[in-house]
């Protein structure tokens, strides 16, 4: 098909897309620190109880958490897609391989990996499964030879959404005000071209209403200046929800821009797919860099190094404690010697957190109460 060329900063070049899509005024984004996710699934349940508790939505997890490298919801979503796309290459920070739009057959819009019913039916198969068999002595070796990590995901409200491009009747739209991608529930006719085409498999079919549904980016909360349900309910405080700029418009005081553009610590998921998706990950430091590069692009190794040096980096350390500390979306932040501050769109302070929690050491024996106390920091 005749494609348009659009600029994709994650690939460092122009790439093919179905429409000459302009960018929204603001772009919704979530950053996940994968070093901290404990797969408690509170996020999945927060989303489910809020949005998908009805008939036909039983299997739907607009937010899901799977164990990598083997787990996936639907099963094999990424492996299936990667093996279809085949070996592709980066030249430094520029992607010289083919994106899914560029690799499409001439009669198709996008290269597709279609998940079967059985792939959707076990949302967390392979939970806690590690990358290799455990051998004698492995448990005392650090770092562990066999690794795994948890990968929480939502829809990425992509800059160039495959779902939107694939829909034959333009039932999917991207909101100008925040970049959130929605399926118009009155226009959809259940063709499932979006379900087939989204490489992240975040568009889903409702058997009962016979049309497709997807993560709505919690737009009613975003409109109130609040972060998504899956972000604010996160037990591990691993998430930060806000707005990402393009690299040339990046603001150093926007926490999202700072982590993505300034420090290049948070990287997008499978950028090579070519959708400029907007879920960003701080890679887990203990997984092999080669695997992380396949998943997050060529910046993964450097991001791991940066993460390892956070303890000596007051700004990053401060920013990391802002994760999970407030419900309001932060448009600005500041870190001084003792505190990290977060600001709303008007510049009002909405949160203030100590960079290092104060520690109190108490006497082992309290005479007044006649009790012994342990200090457990």
């Amino acid at each position: 098909m005749q494609m348009r060329k659009v600029y994709n900063w994650q690939l460092g070049r122009k790439a093919a897309y179905v429409y000459p899509l302009g960018r929204p005024k603001k772009q919704w984004a979530i950053i996940f620190d994968l070093n901290k996710c404990i797969s408690c699934q509170t996020c999945s349940l927060a989303c489910k109880t809020t949005w998908t508790s009805g008939r036909g939505q039983e299997y739907m997890f607009w937010n899901n958490v799977a164990t990598k490298p083997y787990g996936g919801y639907p099963q094999g979503w990424d492996m299936g897609m990667l093996s279809k796309l085949g070996l592709q290459e980066w030249d430094g920070n520029k992607y010289i391989g083919k994106t899914l739009f560029e690799a499409a057959a001439k009669n198709e819009k996008i290269l597709q990996h279609v998940a079967d019913d059985k792939d959707w039916s076990h949302p967390n198969l392979g939970e806690d499964e590690v990358a290799a068999a455990i051998e004698r002595g492995d448990w005392i070796r650090i770092p562990h030879r066999a690794w795994m990590f948890y990968l929480p995901r939502t829809c990425g409200h992509c800059t160039y959404p495959a779902c939107l491009g694939a829909c034959p009747r333009k039932a999917i739209y991207k909101r100008e005000e925040d970049g959130i991608v929605l399926i118009d529930q009155s226009r959809c006719r259940g063709y499932r071209e979006c379900v087939r085409s989204c490489p992240y498999k975040k568009s889903m079919f409702n058997v009962e209403t016979r049309i497709s549904e997807k993560c709505i980016g919690c737009y009613p909360k975003i409109e109130q200046g609040e972060m998504t349900q899956c972000t604010t309910n996160c037990i591990g405080k691993i998430r930060l929800n806000g707005f990402v700029s393009t690299p040339d418009n990046a603001r150093k005081d926007n926490p999202i821009d700072y982590l993505i553009h300034e420090r290049k610590l948070a990287l997008s998921l499978y950028p090579q797919f070519g959708l400029e998706t907007n879920i960003y990950y701080i890679p887990p430091v203990h997984a092999p860099v080669a695997y992380l590069e396949q998943m997050f692009g060529p910046g993964a190794g450097a991001a791991v190094q940066t993460y390892r040096s956070i303890r000596d980096d007051q700004t990053l350390k401060g920013l990391m404690v802002l994760f999970g500390s407030m419900e309001k979306v932060l448009h600005g932040f500041k870190v001084d010697n003792s505190f990290a501050y977060g600001y709303d769109e008007k510049g009002n302070e909405v949160v203030k957190v100590p960079v290092t929690e104060p520690m109190y050491i108490r006497d082992f024996y309290d005479k007044k109460l006649n009790v012994y106390r342990h200090n457990t920091p």
């Binding site: 098909m1 508790s53 009805g54 008939r55 036909g56 039983e58 299997y59 057959a105 009669n107 198709e108 819009k109 279609v114 998940a115 079967d116 019913d117 959707w120 694939a166 034959p168 009747r169 333009k170 118009d184 529930q185 009155s186 959809c188 006719r189 259940g190 063709y191 499932r192 071209e193 379900v195 889903m204 079919f205 409702n206 058997v207 009962e208 209403t209 016979r210 049309i211 549904e213």
Partner: protein, 292 residues
């Protein structure tokens, strides 16, 4: 110089496609007759004797080739059509071979289906594929899902996945006063397709849906106008009948006039191959039915 060349090539392409589409509009690939019979066409059954006396026309189908995605191949490459009218109603009886019956919705299961398309106005004749802007077509769309809904009741998640277990649903708790007292309409607000009034999300009396289209991607469901249908799958073959009045008051509906020819085009979907939307088999151009 280069610019000139580009312009020339562009002009040439423009002319070539212009001619081709004008050609496409005129070309009629097949003709058949809707015989006049004194049998109630509004009530005729799928296998009534009358069909034995009506000649059947075999028509080719081919892969949809005009809008993306274009399927490389399709499941159904030939169909038969018979038609008669009684001066008030007209009936079409389609049949085609399909070794698999796809009648139930699942996450990745698609419905078998067939559609008839007529121009709302014959002159000028709209583009044969889904009509064009200001030149609408009228479509009668049958889906195997709907036939099964009608026979067994609206299919649900429970019928699609009988072994599925669910703890509980909102408003269905076994205690009072937590939404359980809400009316069905109030509960439906929490079902997105229903809340948005999407016609696909509701149970329908008829297995045929009526639609208008003004070009690919503009399909719009409309009210049923005494249109009815029946379908049966037997021995690897679907047989479907579509019955409707020759004329209705809605200006966006096809009107059949005795003695005149009516353009018609067909689409068939093979659910087993996950055919849906433009992934389908279509007539190669408009056919014509001569209404006796």
């Amino acid at each position: 110089m280069v610019l000139k060349k580009i312009i020339c090539v562009w002009m040439f392409l423009f002319l070539a496609t212009g001619v081709a589409s004008a050609e496409g509009k005129k070309k009629i690939f097949a003709e058949f007759v809707s015989y006049h019979k004194s049998v109630d066409a509004a009530k005729v059954g799928l296998n009534d004797d009358i069909w034995k006396s009506i000649p059947s026309s075999r028509l080719p189908l081919q892969r949809q080739f005009l809008v993306f995605p274009k399927p490389m191949d399709v499941g159904v490459k030939e169909m038969s059509v018979q038609s008669f009218n009684d001066g008030k109603y007209i009936t079409f009886r389609l049949s085609w071979k399909d070794s698999t019956q796809n009648t139930g919705p699942k996450l990745m299961d698609f419905s078998d289906g067939a559609a008839l398309q007529f121009p709302v106005n014959k002159k000028p004749l709209p583009e044969y594929f889904m009509g064009e802007e200001k030149r609408p077509v009228h479509i009668l769309h049958w889906k195997a899902w709907r036939s099964r809904d009608k026979q067994e009741g609206f299919q649900t998640v429970k019928s699609a996945y009988p072994n599925m277990t669910v703890d509980m649903y909102n408003f269905d708790y076994k205690v009072k006063g937590v939404g359980t007292e809400k009316t069905q309409a109030e509960k439906d607000i929490f079902t997105p397709g229903k809340a948005a009034g999407n016609p696909l999300s509701f149970d329908h009396k008829e297995i045929i849906e009526e639609l208008n289209s003004e070009g690919a991607g503009t399909l719009k469901s409309k009210n049923i106008e005494n249109t009815s249908g029946d379908a049966e799958w037997k021995d690897g073959q679907w047989t479907v009948i579509f019955r409707r009045p020759l004329t209705v008051s809605d200006p966006l509906s096809a009107r059949f006039v005795a003695g005149e020819k009516m353009p018609v085009a067909f689409s068939v979907w093979e659910g087993e191959r996950r055919e849906s939307a433009g992934r389908k088999a279509v007539s190669p151009a408009w056919a014509e039915v001569k209404v006796e």
